[in-house]
């Protein structure tokens, strides 16, 4: 079986339609984010918005395809690298555990889609998450996926959990809470392995953190994820701290978001 499986060849049935990054970023109305669109000034996602329930459905579908890709990415990390030469066995065991979590999240997401009235494949799928999981360096891969993208997942899950709470929807609230707990663990795995594998390799550490920033920037259109009251997705400091982010690192993401917001409004 070949190593580093290309995103274009991921297995999907006829229900799923892929939207390339070029198509997504090339949409003159703005790229799709947070169940809305970066071209509009998106408000914080709450049930009180006229389109709140539909935005929640779209965002939940984005989470669902993200879970599929996270499962595929963690699975590839178990296979793509050799124990001893590339990674320790314990890293592969962590990735195997993550596969089990992501598979469970896929099943929960399917049940939530049914609950919210969303068909599987109702929205276009973008494979950016899996593409970050194709990095040939395991440290960069874990930093990009487990710290940047799973870090974003913490913010998204917490936002959805609050949406469920505000709407009085216990199904959504509890499902998001359970998945959120797993995401914190995944990010913590990324933080721990980043430190362990680069303990004596400052250059590799810097490269990995730079890759994380690139991925974070790709997901910061218009500063949609931030600490402002009206940010569509709220940056979740407490859970990020639990996941091994330092205050400086969280400040940096918040700053990045603020800058993207200013840039978008100018």
């Amino acid at each position: 079986m070949r190593k580093i499986f290309p995103a274009e060849e991921l297995a999907r049935d006829g229900r799923f339609i892929r939207q390339t990054n070029e198509q997504r970023m090339g949409d003159p109305r703005g790229a799709r984010i947070a169940g809305g669109n970066s071209g509009d000034r998106l408000a914080k996602l709450t049930p009180e918005l006229a389109n709140g329930p539909d935005r929640a459905r779209a965002l939940m579908h984005g989470i669902f395809v993200g879970e599929i890709q996270a499962l595929e990415g963690a699975g590839r990390t178990c296979w793509d690298f050799e124990v001893g030469e590339d990674v320790p066995l314990e890293l592969k065991l962590d990735m195997a555990r993550q596969c089990w979590d992501e598979a469970r999240h896929c099943e929960i997401s399917v049940a939530l889609a049914e609950h919210m009235g969303t068909e599987l494949g109702e929205y276009a799928e973008n494979a950016l998450l899996y593409e970050a999981a194709c990095n040939p360096d395991p440290v960069l891969r874990l930093t990009g996926v487990n710290r940047a993208l799973e870090g974003l997942a913490i913010d998204v899950f917490n936002t959805m959990k609050e949406f469920g709470n505000m709407a009085g929807d216990p199904v959504l609230e509890f499902c998001e809470d359970w998945m959120l707990a797993d995401e914190v663990t995944h990010v913590k795995m990324g933080s721990d392995w980043l430190r362990r594998l680069t303990e004596n390799d400052k250059e590799r550490l810097d490269k990995a953190l730079e890759f994380q920033k690139v991925v974070d920037r790709l997901f910061s259109f218009n500063g949609f994820r931030g600490e402002e009251d009206d940010s569509p997705i709220q940056l979740t400091r407490r859970f990020r701290e639990l996941a091994g982010f330092s205050d400086d690192e969280i400040d940096e993401i918040a700053d990045m978001s603020r800058e993207a917001r200013v840039e978008a409004s100018s």
Partner: protein, 180 residues
């Protein structure tokens, strides 16, 4: 044959065809028994799904481009979505003309609960006509406005399954969820 006028006539940001849109609107209108001219204005810049009736007589509709979009294929026209959007607007016009909705506040005075309840009654009828659907999506929206409870679910069933409710009945069914 219903005459449909679509604005704009050509699109820059989405891959829509005004003639195709006109055909879909005409088809839905004829299924619902309209014979008059319908004007549809589309804001192609917006991928959101808002829609409204800007005039009841003559019929003038306004929609975000996103309200006619195929969500599987962004920027492409979605026939099913368009039928659902246009069907709901036209049924609201029929309701207001029926005499059963004389006490209905103006559209911009309706709150989210009232809109959700009326939408359920519209989409339930559209589904039985083979024009729209997405029952579970409408149930989720209704629950967001009326509560995730057995009372709200029973209210939804009544709104969805009924064929000719009056505004007073819709208000009562929706209001019962507020007090429950």
């Amino acid at each position: 044959m219903t005459q449909v006028s679509v604005t704009p006539e050509s699109f820059e940001m989405v891959f829509y065809d005004a003639a195709v849109i006109g055909e879909v609107v005409a088809e839905v209108a004829e299924r619902l028994g309209f014979e008059e001219t319908i004007t549809l204005e589309i804001d192609e810049r917006s991928p959101l799904g808002r829609s409204k009736i800007t005039s009841y007589d003559p019929i003038e509709l306004w929609v975000d481009g996103g309200a006619l979009e195929n969500t599987k294929r962004p920027r492409q026209f979605g026939t099913a979505r368009a039928r659902d959007t246009i069907g709901r607007l036209l049924l609201r016009i029929l309701d207001r003309r029926s005499g059963r909705f004389n006490e209905t506040p103006d559209d911009d005075e309706l709150d989210l609960m009232q809109f959700a309840a009326w939408d359920v009654h519209c989409v339930g009828r559209l589904e039985r006509l083979g024009i729209g659907g997405q029952r579970q999506r409408r149930l989720y929206q209704f629950r967001n406005r009326h509560g995730f409870s057995d009372v709200a679910d029973a209210a939804f069933e009544q709104l969805w399954d009924s064929s000719e409710l009056s505004w007073t009945e819709i208000e009562r069914i929706s209001g019962d969820c507020r007090t429950a």
